[in-house]
Symmetry: C4
Subunit: 256 residues, 4 copies
């Protein structure tokens, strides 16, 4: 909830639910984007590691709407910061409903995210996303970018690919700006993008991304949930494909 | 009219026509939206209960235009606050020409509406609207959302439905933000949305919504006007349907 | 030209070329719009009455461009204030290249225009424009709106029509806002809109509008230029029509 | 990189890498635009003359993204100022990734560019661009505009054409505003636009533009790189044309 008593909404409002002991050296961003790959991974990790809600971020750069939860309660769209601890390692997560509605808003929000990161002692940001290729991908690579040269070997060792390099690629929105504006503040930034068709929510790509990410983090995470969702999705696609083939055969018989 | 003598328009300008004795615990929002369901209900209530104009709201977030009234007088587009008293109960209404032209403007205007609400002692807001379903609805349900959990039983008792819950629904614009931003200020918010096709102005849906609303308000309101308009509308649709069927039969005869 | 030495552009910059003796009780607005009807009338009047450039208005709410004049000199797009005197009557004109690129900009610019109007003692604004009807109009009416009730009889006596009243009409952009926001400052506003197809620049409609306007102003103005342009335009349309008919006949012969 | 430690991004952030001895009387603007003609010329000159990076310009009016370089390093999109010296003549260059995403941003950025120009003692700006004509151009003219009358003879003597004059032309974006807003500050502005189809990146048009520009600058520049790229492009187009003709002939044979 927003701070009570305020009479005007600022560009960005941040509400902390805890003040002490919430520092962490790592921030993982998984906001909505292509194939919801980053969001799937971040939400899965928060579930698996038992994340605790640390802060909510409201902004007039988000769409002007509320979402209705399973109880019929409307709540303002927002982004959220969660915090987890695993094997003595503390990790923050940036997740939420939407990215900005405008180009300027993307910059303003990214600076707010980095303000929070600095306040909480973050030294490295993992920005997660999808990399749309326009066709189904059987074995998705995790295409990567970094904001400081010394980070590349570590990413490659963990299975991240730099094969996209040299194609004039760009990273649009929060993931890109966290790297670009983060570098200015001396915060390391690693962007991991799971190859995905761009047409569907893609848990298979998320599963691959989780592999590289957990290797980089040095933590073990159960993949079962993402793998089951990926199998469900693949089963559904297969069923549709078979139905279409059956229909095509039928039409051929009819003609013949 | 706007405050005289001003040399620059603020984001939002509010002009009060009365200062004293205009408090009320209830605000009903019926701004233009899907099927104009909320607007029909609010305008009808203001007529029936004899509302008095309390304030006008101007903003550069509204479309840059004037509307021409029946006498050829142009007046700037605005939203208005009316006040009614019925059976010792005081009610404020928020109605008007338009909602914001931009996402940011929606937030800025909603905060202004809430500033007025707080100033006038409002403790509960009813946000009225339509819920577009893409086809004609014979017996429109009144789908509902609340901004505090304790409000739901009351809404259900009055005939509001929560069957939309769990579908990931959203409420966009003023209605949504009054709930979301109102909650921050401790103002109860109930959104009532009459099912409607989304293609026509829908007095039938408004009539159903009025039933639930007047039950929640605990006041009796005459429905005649809305019901007559609904019958006129249904008669007009029936006439079109018959004409189309007659035309279709004729064409069949011609072919046959 | 903009004030020299400034290091940052304000929302709106106004540059006066004269300071003294430039007051006038009347402002005529003829900015670009439907059929360029208002612009044609205002530009014609400035020519006929020998207007003098009084001020230029620059704004980041105009399109970000320069226009190239007949000598190859680029100049920033702007609006301009001209001043004329005829039979002891002083009149200001607001003309120019463009209206605002955004809804908010329309409001901000209109307030700036009214600031100038107040400073120069303007008591009445004539806002000129076109009224698009979607088909060629032989004898265009001058549809009208006013911002104060007492102005209507005068407009009707001069030949202005209020037959558009009651259709829920709106006036968008500078013309509308000068009436709406002007009323707040106690400045009389009369909007005259020449019926026009909306597809072509329409000197015929402008010629009709000039008739009503000069009657309201109580000044005689030569119409020759607008009438000649109207005849040229009608001749061109007639030539196109004949060519199309000839082509249609030819095709019939070919088929027959 | 942006100034470290800042917690909020300004509209425009300028980072200087050198402070002393970077003045120059000439600024050449070659931002992305039609056919990338201006960009090709400016980038070529920086290469040939050995330009040194003097400043970077960041802004929330640029697209919210990073670009990935050949090493996989992401960097925030920006514009850049380079400085060259040749035959004792110092020249500044304004080049970069993007122009503004909004009309207002174009004005704000152009004023920032002019602030830098004034600070560095610039007395003349060459704004380079393409002039789209919708078809391939064999021998592209360099169409021109100036912001002060006395500049025209010099441009004509160097081979710049003013044949576009009198067609109501406009120059949109940074090139136009540098002339229009530059004039206000007493900075001479010359816009050179190479004719180009508008469909392809056009090194042939850039090569022609370089001829006029180097004559105006009074410096010799090697054209080899641009000419080779132009020949490669023309070869590629010729190959496509031949393939299409061969295909057309084949189809004719098949039919015949």
């Amino acid at each position: 909830m927003l701070p009570e008593g305020g009479t005007e909404m600022d560009n960005v409002s941040i509400v902390f639910f805890q003040e002490d002991g919430i520092d962490a050296p790592i921030l993982i961003e998984g906001l909505p984007g292509i194939g919801h790959v980053g969001k799937l991974v971040a939400d899965h990790l928060i579930d698996e590691l038992g994340g605790e809600l640390v802060a909510e971020i409201y902004s007039l750069h988000f769409p002007p709407q509320v979402v209705i939860d399973g109880e019929g309660i409307a709540r303002l769209v927002c982004n959220e910061i969660y915090r987890c601890e695993k094997d003595g390692k503390a990790i923050l997560f940036l997740v939420g409903d939407f990215q900005s509605t405008s180009p300027e808003g993307h910059y303003i929000l990214a600076e707010s995210y980095l303000d929070i990161a600095e306040e909480l002692g973050v030294q490295r940001i993992y920005a997660l996303g999808g990399y749309g290729v326009g066709h189904l991908v059987e074995d998705p690579r995790i295409l990567s970018a970094v904001n400081m040269e010394h980070l590349r070997p570590e990413v490659e060792a963990a299975g991240g690919s730099f094969e996209n390099v040299g194609t004039g690629g760009a990273i649009v929105g929060a993931s890109g700006l966290l790297l670009g504006l983060g570098e200015v503040r001396g915060i390391e930034g690693i962007c991991l993008m799971g190859e995905t068709s761009g047409y569907i929510v893609d848990p298979r790509s998320a599963d691959s991304l989780l592999g590289v990410l957990s290797s980089l983090l040095g933590i073990e995470v159960d993949h079962t949930f993402l793998q089951e969702r990926a199998e469900d999705m693949e089963q559904a696609i297969e069923t549709i494909r078979e139905a279409e083939e059956a229909k095509a055969r039928e039409e051929l018989n009819y003609i013949g």
